[in-house]
Symmetry: C2
Subunit: 336 residues, 2 copies
């Protein structure tokens, strides 16, 4: 029987709490045991982009990363929901160049960069966004690299039946412990399959990603390469003014985090053998980072200085059009 969601974050305005954001949190070890929780730790939802670090594994395991000489920055970009800054688009283009393809082969669609200064500058220049600016272009470039390595067609790589997607499904299944047939399949904003599984299983996959000792040698090596790349190049995983990047920087790579659309955040804490998955039930991004940072605080995984460096994500102030402070976003829950 599933458990109800609990309020995780309050949005205040003057004397009132104006909004509540409900959600679920699972804190899990590498065996998949739930150590701490809020709401329903087994809430089933799509991992969305939080699956990307897991989806990078078969790109490495297939030999594609070595065959094409992918760098650490490029592997970090496979795991990214990036900002569309120049470093991101040029790196996506570099991966495509190494596999003999170009942005014309990307099927992710185009959108303006998440990074506002970059988007504004493009608007001012009258420059239209390309598929390289899509926040998922690194993941798509990785899917194409895998397709090329497997000798599979590069046209229909979005399809669940494509060998590249099948390898990614297998990786998510193997890492999470959820049988492939039990993983719910939807379609992502960028057109590829997305994977629905319990939060506790997503957290377990992240625990194993950061602490892969019990996995087969090839997977263990791939996990290590992904986490090393994320820790060393956090600016490629998200970018300027983004929580994922700031968290990995501030924690000096001791906490690896990746957001997913609709209120998902997954974290790996290698030295503690922990995986943590957060779902804001209504999908609100404004509640996601406060909840994730607060979970880390309660678990003793961020010290006061680190929390202070993340304060604009942990407890953001709300301002009005004139810049006056009118309220705050306040995490308010207790992990049990």
């Amino acid at each position: 029987m599933s458990q109800p969601s609990v309020p995780l974050v309050r949005v205040t305005r003057g004397p009132l709490t104006e909004c509540f954001h409900h959600g679920h949190i699972a804190v899990v070890d590498t065996a998949g045991t739930v150590l701490h929780q809020a709401g329903d730790p087994h809430f089933v939802t799509f991992a969305r982009s939080a699956a990307k670090p897991l989806q990078a594994l078969p790109v490495i395991e297939s030999g594609a990363a070595d065959a094409f000489g992918l760098t650490g920055e490029e592997i970090a970009l496979l795991c990214a929901s990036h900002n569309g800054e120049e470093l991101h688009t040029s790196t996506a283009a570099a991966i495509l160049g190494k596999i003999g393809l170009s942005e014309l082969n990307l099927r992710c669609g185009a959108h303006l960069p998440f990074h506002r200064p970059t988007a504004s500058a493009m608007r001012e220049r009258g420059e239209a966004p390309t598929s390289l600016h899509n926040n998922c272009s690194g993941k798509h470039a990785g899917m194409l690299a895998l397709a090329v390595r497997l000798g599979a067609p590069t046209e229909d790589y979005l399809s669940l039946e494509h060998p590249a997607q099948q390898r990614m499904l297998e990786a998510v299944s193997g890492m999470s412990g959820v049988p492939e047939s039990s993983i719910a399949i939807g379609v992502d904003g960028c057109g590829v399959p997305v994977f629905g599984l319990p939060l506790s299983a997503l957290a377990a996959a992240y625990a194993r990603l950061g602490c892969p000792e019990s996995l087969a040698p090839q997977r263990r090596a791939a996990c290590s390469r992904v986490t090393t790349a994320m820790a060393a190049h956090p600016e490629y995983v998200a970018g300027d003014d983004r929580f994922d990047t700031r968290l990995m920087r501030v924690s000096q790579g001791r906490v690896l985090g990746k957001m997913g659309a609709e209120g998902v955040f997954a974290m790996s804490v290698p030295e503690r053998g922990l995986g943590i998955a957060v779902k804001i039930e209504d999908g609100a991004k404004r509640a996601l980072y406060p909840a994730a940072a607060e979970a880390l605080r309660q678990l003793g995984l961020l010290d006061a200085d680190q929390l202070s460096a993340l304060s604009s994500y942990h407890r953001p102030l709300q301002r009005n059009w004139q810049g006056t402070e009118v309220g705050a976003i306040v995490p308010d829950f207790r992990l049990v």
Copy 2:
């Protein structure tokens, strides 16, 4: 003892419900009796811009509307969170002209128009937004009209102590039946005081707004003038591609509706003597219109043709960057 929120709206993706939006609904008669509800009908929240039609009352009652010859369109704009289309900015400027002031007197701050085509065109022309484009510029022009009429200063009209704000607080109190001292005060996005009160009281105010027979003659006349203006000029209350405007058009003015930020929608159904207030607890706009339209459906206030004309608000489809349908936003609750 307050009652918990209930899920009002589901967001689906493929086989899963990916997000839930919780909330509260109160359906109330002119006596303030709760006839139907979902969640906690007495949930206390800020009315935000849903208070604007009530805030227009003292502008009329003070004699300002007559003294300055405000038209029906201009009175509708006092009630608006408008799109910043040309008809809105020119009407706000016209009100200011009639009272001998200009946009330089507005203290609402500037933001790009809500209306995307208008905002895009301004960006292309390199045109910066002014206070006239602020969605609240009509309300602010009304506050200034009231200040001028009362012989009060026009500089500090944002302050709760200003006679214009005091008249507005009195109107919200009088219409809702909540004593002034029990109304929570916060600061809005546009700098003015906002009024916190139970949803049931906001709904009662809207019931009385549309059915003002029991009110004092001056207030009755003011209510009638506001509702007549909203029903006759719904495009001034919001604008192109906006639910408020579409609802009033589709219902031919038999349902008057006004949104407020952070998930508030208030409606008046004059011929049934009903007021309805909806609060999405997490503030999400994507859930607000489906919940409001569904409440009207369950109350038998919209027929099949009207619902069909509102289907893109009642049950919107979710598409990805490529335009592929990936899910839907589905109201899923039962008024009791």
